[in-house]
């Protein structure tokens, strides 16, 4: 493995880990359900795809790399759709987002 490849892989892995860290801090800091699920969906999806891209760079052109690409593709589809269904179900049973000028009980 060349040094460039290794450096790129490590950079991508660290970037993905930082995105995941932002996601988990946001889960603790944000006030209510919708902002939390929105943040979790974005950071988890991007973080996972970036981490898998880092692993693909680490692996090189192999079969495992192709499988990782498929994992990234399907996780990238499934994760936002799952959060969409979750938020939709929450809205339908009557949970309303807390707006700026009112005090909801998220």
């Amino acid at each position: 493995m060349s040094a460039v490849q290794e450096a790129l892989a490590v950079t991508l892995l660290i970037a993905g880990a930082l995105l995941m860290l932002v996601g988990s801090i946001g889960l603790l800091r944000l006030p209510e359900f919708y902002s939390r699920s929105h943040l979790a969906s974005n950071t988890d999806t991007l973080g996972m795809v970036v981490i898998i891209a880092g692993l693909m760079v680490f692996e090189g052109w192999t079969m495992a790399s192709a499988k990782l690409a498929l994992v990234a593709l399907f996780a990238g589809i499934a994760n936002p759709v799952a959060i969409h269904a979750l938020a939709r179900a929450a809205f339908r049973i009557g949970l309303r987002p807390r707006l700026e000028n009112e005090r909801g009980e998220g």
Binding site: F74, I77, A78, V81, H84, A85, R88
Partner: protein, 151 residues
Amino acid sequence: MIHPSKSPIVLVAARTMAPAIQVMAFYVIIHGHYSPGGGFQGGVLLAASLLLLRLALGDRVGRQQVTTGKATLWSAAGALAFAGLGALALAGSGNFLDYAAISWLGAEPAAARYYGMLIVEVAVGVAVAGALVSIYDDLLLGSTREDRGGS
């Protein structure tokens, strides 16, 4: 009774991903010879794709291809094939599931091992998929008022 999702995003995602999950399930089952994976994991993937369709598209569409009766039949047939192959090995005076002992049917011991392992993997996969789907269907029985009213 589960109604189809009203969100087109969920519908399209479920319909797009279910066939890919099924291909992956067959790959995992067949590849169980010499790599991580095998009958149980592949069967669970197969059941997951069927349950995804049942959850997203609702009962009426989701149960059209694999009905509850068919799922029960799968689980019974898979278990029967598994036990039957083991019993064939017993009949060849080997231990239960001793694939080489199946060679009394006329195959080379190596070929008997190969095909015995393949048949057992496929049987376990089919049994697990059928059992999980029929467990899900049974859990839904009587879950809503219209179910309890009808049938």
